[in-house]
C-alpha cells in the first residue's frame, strides 16, 4: 500500500482520506485474516463462462426494471384497464362472461408489453454506451442475447403471475399443478415475444421507431390471436390460424381451464394442446435463433 499512498487522489486508498488512520489497515491485516487488500493476477487470462455471463446480464435487466417503476405501470396497468373496461362493456363470449373470456388474452398482452419494454432497452443500452463494453467482452454473442431475453422473460412472467392471482376473483380454483403449467407456459410465450422484440429492436437507433412497429405489427398480432375475439364465423379465422401467437393464447386458455372436460364449452374450437406446444416452442426457438443471428451483424449504432 505504501507506494500507492501519496501518489495522487486517483490512487488514494481509504487511509489517505482519513476514514482509517494511516497504517491501521495494514496492522489490522496482520492480526486478522488478510482481507480485501490485494489479489495476485491469474497466471493465465481468465475464461468467462458464457452461461454465467448471461445470467449476470439477466440479473441486470431485473435490477434496472425494479429501479424504473414507471415501466411497471405501462406494462401491467394498461392491460389491466383494458380487462376491466372491456370486461364491463362487452357481453358474454364463447359461453362465458367477457371478463373471463378475455382473461388469457389480457395475460398475453401483459407478457407482450413487458417483453417489448424489456427489449426496447437494447436501444437504450446502445445509446448509453453500455452495449459497447459487452460487445468487446470475451463472451459469445448468444450469451448476450440470452441474458437480454431471459431478463425480459423473468420480468414478463413476474408481472403475468401477479395478474394470474386476480384470476381467483373470477372463481378459478387452480391447483399447484395448474399454476405450474400456467407459469411454464408464460415462460415459453415470453421467450418467444422477447426474442421477437430483440429481433425488431436490434437495428433500431431510436425508441420512436419501435412505437411504429408496435402499432402496425405487434398490436394487430395480439388482436388477431384469439385473445380478443375468436372470429370463428368470419374469414378472419384464417388469419388467426396463421398467427403463431394464436397458439400461445390457446395453450394458455386450455391451461386456465385445466381439468375441464375436452368437450366443455370454453374450449370449443381451440387448437389441440399438442399443436399449441409445438407451434409455440417453434416460435420461441426460431425467434431466438434469428435474434442470435442478427446480433452478430454489426450496425452503425454499435459505434458511438
Amino acid at each position: 500500500m505504501a507506494e500507492i499512498r501519496g501518489l495522487s487522489p486517483f490512487l488514494e486508498s481509504s487511509e489517505k482520506r482519513g476514514t482509517v488512520p494511516p497504517g491501521a489497515r495494514i496492522a489490522r491485516g496482520v492480526g486478522r485474516e488478510p482481507r480485501s487488500t490485494s489479489i495476485a493476477p491469474a497466471a493465465e487470462p481468465l475464461t468467462p463462462n458464457p452461461w454465467f455471463a448471461a445470467w449476470s446480464l439477466c440479473q441486470r435487466e431485473w435490477v434496472r426494471f425494479v429501479r424504473q417503476r414507471n415501466r411497471v405501470f405501462g406494462a401491467f396497468g394498461q392491460p389491466l384497464i383494458f380487462w376491466i373496461l372491456f370486461g364491463a362493456g362487452l357481453g358474454p363470449t364463447g359461453g362465458v362472461s367477457y371478463k373471463e373470456y378475455f382473461f388469457p388474452g389480457t395475460l398475453v398482452l401483459i407478457l407482450l408489453f413487458t417483453a417489448i419494454f424489456a427489449t426496447i432497452s437494447i436501444i437504450e443500452d446502445r445509446r448509453e454506451g453500455f452495449l459497447q463494453s459487452v460487445l468487446v467482452a470475451p463472451v459469445p454473442r448468444w450469451s448476450m442475447v440470452l441474458g437480454k431475453i431471459l431478463g425480459g422473460t423473468l420480468i414478463a412472467v413476474a408481472q403475468g403471475a401477479l395478474f394470474v392471482l386476480l384470476g381467483y376473483t373470477l372463481g378459478f380454483h387452480w391447483g399447484p399443478l395448474a399454476l405450474l403449467g400456467i407459469v411454464a407456459w408464460m415462460v415459453l410465450v415470453s421467450i418467444a415475444l422477447t426474442s421477437l422484440g430483440f429481433l425488431l429492436a436490434w437495428r433500431m437507433e431510436s425508441t420512436q421507431g419501435f412505437h411504429a412497429i408496435m402499432s402496425v405489427l405487434l398490436m394487430p398480432m395480439w388482436l388477431l390471436s384469439g385473445a380478443f375475439f375468436s372470429g370463428a364465423d368470419s374469414w378472419i379465422r384464417y388469419v388467426i390460424a396463421a398467427n403463431p401467437l394464436t397458439y400461445g393464447v390457446a395453450g394458455l386458455r386450455r391451461l386456465v381451464y385445466w381439468g375441464a372436460g375436452a368437450d366443455s364449452v370454453q374450449l370449443a374450437g381451440l387448437p389441440e394442446m399438442w399443436l399449441c406446444c409445438l407451434i409455440t416452442a417453434a416460435f420461441a426457438a426460431v425467434a431466438f435463433l434469428l435474434a442470435w443471428k442478427i446480433s452478430s451483424q454489426r450496425t452503425t449504432g454499435d459505434l458511438l
Binding site: 507506494e3 501518489l7 487522489p9 481509504s14 454465467f52 453500455f130 459497447q132 463494453s133 458511438l304
Partner: protein, 319 residues
C-alpha cells in the same frame, strides 16, 4: 522497468479501413512495444477512432494484418478480448446501477466471480479512490468520478494492454493529471502497455512515443523529444496585414523558406531570437506582432502536413 523486452504489443501491416467510399485509414504500419505508453495523436477525423475500434475488436478488420499481444486480430479476437482492457470515449457504465454493481457485471463478463471478484473489486475501488462511492448510482456521480469507474472497469481483469479512446475528454486539468498518474503507475508497477488516442497536443507530450495520424495516414512516429528535434529550430510566427507578401519578402531578402500557415507568416530557424531583430528591422511598419516559440508538437504537425492542427475550413486547400 518491464519494457525492456521489445516484443510488440501491437503490430499492424497495411491496415486499411473504409466507410463506403471514404477512406478512414489508408495502409497503416505500426509496432507498439510492450510496456510503453503510446499515443495516437491527430485532429478529429484523422482516423484515430477507427483505429481504436479495430484494435478493440469492435469492428472487423477489412484489409491488412494486425497482431495484438501476439494474437491475430482477424482469427483470434476472443483470445485478444480476454487480455485487453478497453475504455471507450462514450461512457459505458449502466447509470441505473451502482459503482459496485457495474464492476460486478464486468467481472462476470470477464470470468471473475465469487471471492476473487470481491477482493479484486475492492482493490480497484480503493486504488481509484472510489471505496466510499461503491453503493452510489453512477447517474449521481460527476464526470471525473465516472471516468475513474470506467478505468476500474477496464483494469478489473488484469489486462496486459489497456486501450483508451480520448480518455481526457470532459476532465478538468486536475483529474487529467490524476489519470496520467494512474496510467504511469500501471505501466511501471504492472508492466501494462497503455495505448490511447487524443486530439490534445499537450497530452501527447507525456507519451513514450507518439504516432501522428492525419487523414488516415501516419505522418510521424517517434518520441515527443525526437519529433520536436526534427523541426528546424525555433519557430517564428508573424502577424501582418499581408502575410503572403511578407513571406515572399523574407524569401527574397534572406533566401530562407517562409510560408503562410493559418493566416500568419511562419519560418523555422535556429537561433530564433536573432531573427526577430533582423526581421523587424528589415520590414519596418509591416509587422503587427512577432512570436518566437520553441518547437512544439504542433510545429511537427505543421511541418509534416503543411497546415495547422486546428485548421479553419478555408485552409483545406493549403494542405
Amino acid at each position: 522497468m518491464l519494457s525492456e523486452t521489445q516484443s510488440a504489443a501491437i503490430e499492424t501491416h497495411g491496415v486499411c479501413h473504409r466507410y463506403g467510399d471514404r477512406v478512414a485509414l489508408g495502409g497503416l504500419d505500426i509496432a507498439i512495444h510492450t510496456g510503453e505508453i503510446f499515443v495516437f495523436l491527430g485532429p478529429n477525423g484523422g482516423g484515430k477512432t477507427t483505429l481504436f475500434r479495430l484494435l478493440s475488436t469492435l469492428i472487423p478488420l477489412q484489409e491488412g494484418e494486425a497482431r495484438i499481444l501476439g494474437f491475430d486480430l482477424r482469427r483470434e479476437s476472443r483470445a485478444i478480448q480476454r487480455r485487453i482492457g478497453v475504455v471507450f470515449q462514450a461512457p459505458s457504465l449502466d447509470k441505473k446501477l451502482s459503482v459496485a454493481e457495474n464492476l460486478t457485471h464486468q467481472g462476470h463478463l470477464y470470468g471473475l466471480s465469487g471471492r476473487t471478484l470481491d477482493v479484486r473489486q475492492n482493490e480497484m475501488l480503493a486504488r481509484l479512490g472510489l471505496s466510499d462511492r461503491r453503493r452510489e448510482r453512477v447517474e449521481t456521480l460527476s464526470g471525473g468520478l465516472r471516468r475513474r469507474v470506467e478505468l476500474a472497469k477496464g483494469m478489473l481483469h488484469w489486462p496486459r494492454l489497456l486501450l483508451l479512446d480520448e480518455p481526457s475528454t470532459g476532465l478538468d486539468p486536475g483529474a487529467r493529471s490524476d489519470l496520467w498518474d494512474y496510467l504511469e503507475h500501471i505501466r511501471r508497477e504492472e508492466g501494462v502497455t497503455v495505448v490511447l488516442t487524443t486530439h490534445l497536443l499537450e497530452e501527447a507530450e507525456k507519451a513514450d512515443r507518439i504516432a501522428i495520424l492525419n487523414e488516415g495516414q501516419l505522418v510521424a512516429l517517434d518520441s515527443p523529444e525526437a519529433l520536436k528535434a526534427t523541426v528546424g529550430g525555433d519557430s517564428i510566427t508573424i502577424q501582418s496585414s499581408d502575410p503572403e507578401a511578407l513571406a515572399a519578402g523574407i524569401r527574397e531578402r534572406f533566401g530562407c523558406p517562409a510560408s503562410v500557415v493559418g493566416g500568419a507568416t511562419r519560418l523555422e530557424q535556429p537561433g530564433g531570437h536573432e531573427w526577430i531583430a533582423r526581421l523587424v528591422e528589415a520590414f519596418p511598419g509591416r509587422i503587427e506582432s512577432i512570436m518566437l516559440g520553441r518547437p512544439t508538437l504542433e510545429d511537427v504537425f505543421i511541418d509534416r502536413t503543411g497546415h495547422r492542427f486546428w485548421r479553419e475550413k478555408e485552409e483545406v486547400g493549403v494542405g
